[in-house]
Amino acid sequence: MAEKILKSFTVKYWKQNGPKDKGHFEQKVMKDIPGDTSFLEMLDILNEQLIEEGKEPFVFDHDCREGICGMCSLYINGTPHGKTERGATTCQLYMRRFKEGDTITIEPWRSAGFPVIKDCMVDRTAFDKIIQAGGYTTVRTGAPQDANAILIPKQDADEAMDCASCIGCGACVAACKNGSAMLFVSSKVSQLALLPQGRPEAAKRAKAMVAKMDELGFGNCTNTRACEAVCPKCETIANIARLNREFIKAKLAD
């Protein structure tokens, strides 16, 4: 397999010194990058060059680089995490997907719910606050019943697992014209609504999480499906439909 090498392309990246700064783009020409280099490794190389020039590096969030921690969050050429056929996080995007002479534009998640900390690093603590509002089953550490005492049909368990795959990266919010966090919220609500362990608090959970989401300034869902198109874990808006049902059921019972 002859490896593709990108001889030259331009990276246009967002610099912003804190939430109040207006921010601006800077750019740099990158040379001779092998196609097997990951997008973030390409940015490592860019940063090495900046440091060599005595400049401060371009700041972005990243950690596991295996597509699971949800830390990386770059808006690449107008798409959260960049374009791939099936969902992938920024760290799982490889340079072989780009062409010679490309200009790659990198921006932060842009949403009222996620203020910029620096450059492309944003503050996503709002997601933690939504989970804190009710994204759990109330159970103390101790001695619950034997795990096999709760029988869960395989289909339900598998479906709950798919919902639980959400990594909380926030791409859904970044992609949504309303800055809605519905896909994120509905994934957690769905996981727990599908499992018997989650049923006792289902109504309370749906109401509390939606209320918190509204309070934190996230917008509403208007079914454009932009979120599901960019979700690196392929969460679907069927979750949002389920959240709506759970929410309406809860409200009607009030």
């Binding site: 990951s38 900390i117 996503r124 603590t125 159970v139 795990a147 869960i152």
Partner: protein, 659 residues
């Protein structure tokens, strides 16, 4: 002057020790719990579960993490599963067998009492996680499913697709979130612990850096728990996340906590091979793949040469010309031998010239046989996300049909090679998980306690959650029982001021070197030294060279480092520089420990000490102990203190995975 180490192992037969301990330990009454503060550093499986459990009990918890959210800790990346002795498969499993397998897997270098307790609480963990809504894989009848992992002949691993760590961490995170909501946990995200504060010989707080503002802040408590993970990133390339570091642990070591068995480093056999010098990390392919994947290299050296030259592909080599070397060498366990054994066997083949990629440093992991037997869909059910991930990284899909020879279908195999993955060594703790500094506790990968010289697959998640949910919340009370008699300490004490000043001086020193080299460029070089001299095959000569080279590179770090920016505000490079400073200390310590241990055991392989068949050769007469290292100062070599191991239940013997 021999310091006596007290591991505080309770009296009684091994199976009764934990019950005895719990029956007689001191407790804290509910009113007094409200007066006690506990700092928990880290929000991985161990940290989050401990913080949540302590808060539920009534303690006030301050919980710190370096990421933007507790849910991002690197436990999240664990793929394969979590062990428990449920015996749901009726295949002869029991608490004793899990205990035995773990001790044997650890090459008889773990503490018996700790491991027994671990096996004992393993079942509670599964119950707890299911109650939280962790969506484990299930059978059609609705019961929980299991799979097999290395080092065991039973199926005791519970899993959630290839994302078990994620699901367990989200479970712990949800329990933690409930306690944040209840006001019992105060969460500090994007904070890094820079040092521990000792007041009157006891750990009474920490100095943490707010990574966004750059400010140093003081926090006081009645006890400090570190759950800050391992030191694998000392090798630069590892399966650890980019942010994983050992700064908190090393600072505790500098303050007097012993570091135990640092040479026990796990090299995981199934990682995607290194592809170039710009690579930032290595990606693990779960050990669970060894359930259905067969590991091989060509039998003929000319086939290997052709693979290396790129003139042949793996699927062009027929069955009879393949050397399934693990099945050949270890018929009883086959592809499911423990990680250290599998890694060394891969290295042995590659060293002999049988490597299968352009660097000669890779072996095949092949699913053809399982796909032919069970179908591609069954494989996708089990490993779908791993296959996708492999394709995303390498552009090769392991399920693609590539060839048919004599009616046998061959699918594209994965290529794998060993990489640094986990550190069994860590901060020394006694049975109560307390370090040699009173009031300072270490849990999860951060401590050394349960895995001996090698950790079995699916046991890291088990240990992290055991420590956090079921062990520490008990044992810490034995310490805290009389602490409520003392008032909270003020962060205005001179001990806090001095510690903060020292941290600040270090930040200034690193910024003022103003040399020419970036943190990463030096870190990469350190990684090369570690992998070359302190890696999979160690020799006395090589270790000495390694230590020498590290000392030289450390000089380069101290005189020629360049950190841009200032102390104020976010400064990623400055934080990385602090981490690197501590990787140097840890790296040297790994080498010292490896040099002092003149035997091979588990993850520590000294080439001078092997059997004729190339297996690790232990020396129980001289090295049946935990090697505890005490810090002596920046310019001095550390001192070794030995904690002798005592086995009563298990007969120590040579590990055998052959028959």
């Amino acid at each position: 002057m021999a310091i006596k180490i007290d591991s505080k192992i309770p009296e009684g037969p091994v199976a009764e020790k934990w019950s005895n301990y719990k029956a007689h330990q001191r407790l804290v009454n509910p009113k007094n719990k409200l007066k006690l503060d506990v700092i928990v550093v880290g929000t991985g499986l161990a940290g989050a579960s401990a913080a949540a459990s302590l808060a539920e009990m009534g303690f006030n918890v301050l919980n710190f993490c370096i990421q933007d959210s507790p849910r991002r800790a690197h436990s999240i990346a664990a793929q394969g599963g979590i062990n428990a002795a449920k015996n749901y498969q009726n295949d002869g499993d029991s608490v004793y067998r899990l205990f035995y397998d773990t001790v044997k897997g650890g090459d008889y270098r773990a503490r018996e009492a700790n491991v027994y307790r671990l096996a004992e609480v393993s079942n509670n963990i599964i119950d707890q996680c299911v109650a939280q809504g962790v969506p484990f894989a299930r059978e059609y009848g609705g019961t929980l499913a299991n799979r097999s992992f290395g080092g065991a002949q039973v199926s005791r691993t519970f899993y959630a697709k290839g994302q078990t760590g994620q699901q367990l961490l989200l479970g712990a995170y949800s329990a933690l979130s409930a306690q944040v909501q209840a006001g019992k946990v105060k969460l500090y995200t994007r904070y890094e612990m820079e040092d521990v504060v000792i007041v009157n010989g006891k750990a009474r707080g920490i100095i943490a850096k707010n990574l966004v503002t750059g400010k140093l802040e003081r926090f006081s408590a009645n006890a400090v728990v570190i759950a800050t993970g391992g030191y694998g990133n000392a090798y630069f390339l590892s399966t650890n996340a980019m942010g994983c570091n050992c700064t908190a642990a090393v600072q505790c070591y500098r303050k007097g906590a012993y570091m135990a068995n640092p040479s026990y480093v796990q090299i995981h056999p199934t990682c995607i091979p290194v592809h170039g010098d710009k690579q930032s990390k290595l990606t693990l392919m779960s050990e669970s793949l060894r359930n259905d994947g067969r590991i091989w290299v060509p039998k003929k050296i000319e086939d290997a040469k052709a693979l290396q030259a790129g003139t042949k592909e793996g699927w062009e080599i027929p069955e009879e010309d393949r050397d399934y070397y693990l099945e050949r060498r270890y018929p009883a366990f086959g592809n499911l031998v423990p990680r250290d054994v599998a890694s060394r066997a891969a290295k042995e083949r590659c060293d002999k010239g049988y490597g299968v990629n352009n660097t000669g440093l890779a072996v095949f992991l092949d699913f053809s046989e399982s796909i032919n037997r069970l179908g591609l869909d069954a494989m996708k059910q089990r490993y779908g996300n791993l296959f996708d991930m492999y394709e995303e990284i390498t552009d090769v899909y392991p399920g693609d049909l590539a060839n048919e020879i004599n009616g046998v279908k061959y699918y594209k195999p994965m290529m794998i090679y060993p990489a640094i993955h986990y550190t069994m060594g860590g901060v020394w703790v006694d049975y109560e998980l307390q370090t040699s500094i009173p009031g300072l506790f270490a849990i999860g990968e951060c401590n050394f306690s349960d895995h001996g010289a090698n950790r079995l697959g699916a046991s890291a998640l088990m240990q992290g959650l055991a420590d956090g949910y079921f062990v520490l919340p008990y044992t810490i009370q034995n310490y805290l029982a009389d602490q409520s008699l003392w008032p909270r300490v003020s962060t205005d004490l001179p001990e806090f001021a001095e510690t903060e000043k020292a941290v600040d001086a270090e930040l200034t020193r690193l910024l003022n070197i103003k040399g020419k080299r970036s943190v990463d460029s030096i870190h990469k070089e350190l990684g090369h030294i570690m992998w070359e001299y302190v890696g999979m095959g160690r020799t006395a000569e090589g270790l000495k060279t390694g230590i020498q080279k590290m000392k030289e590179l450390q000089k380069e770090f101290d005189t020629n480092l360049f950190v841009p920016g200032t102390k104020e505000g976010l400064n990623v490079e400055l934080d990385k520089a602090i981490h690197l400073r501590d990787f140097f200390t840890m790296g040297e310590l790994v080498a010292h420990d490896a040099l002092s241990r003149n035997e091979s055991c588990g993850g520590h392989f000294r080439e001078e000490y092997q059997t004729e068949e190339g297996e690790a050769k232990r020396d129980d007469a001289n090295y049946f102990y935990v090697g505890c290292w005490e810090y002596q100062g920046a310019d001095k070599d550390p001192e070794l203190i030995k904690e002798p191991l005592e086995y009563e239940a298990i007969k120590v013997q040579t590990r055998n995975y052959k028959n």
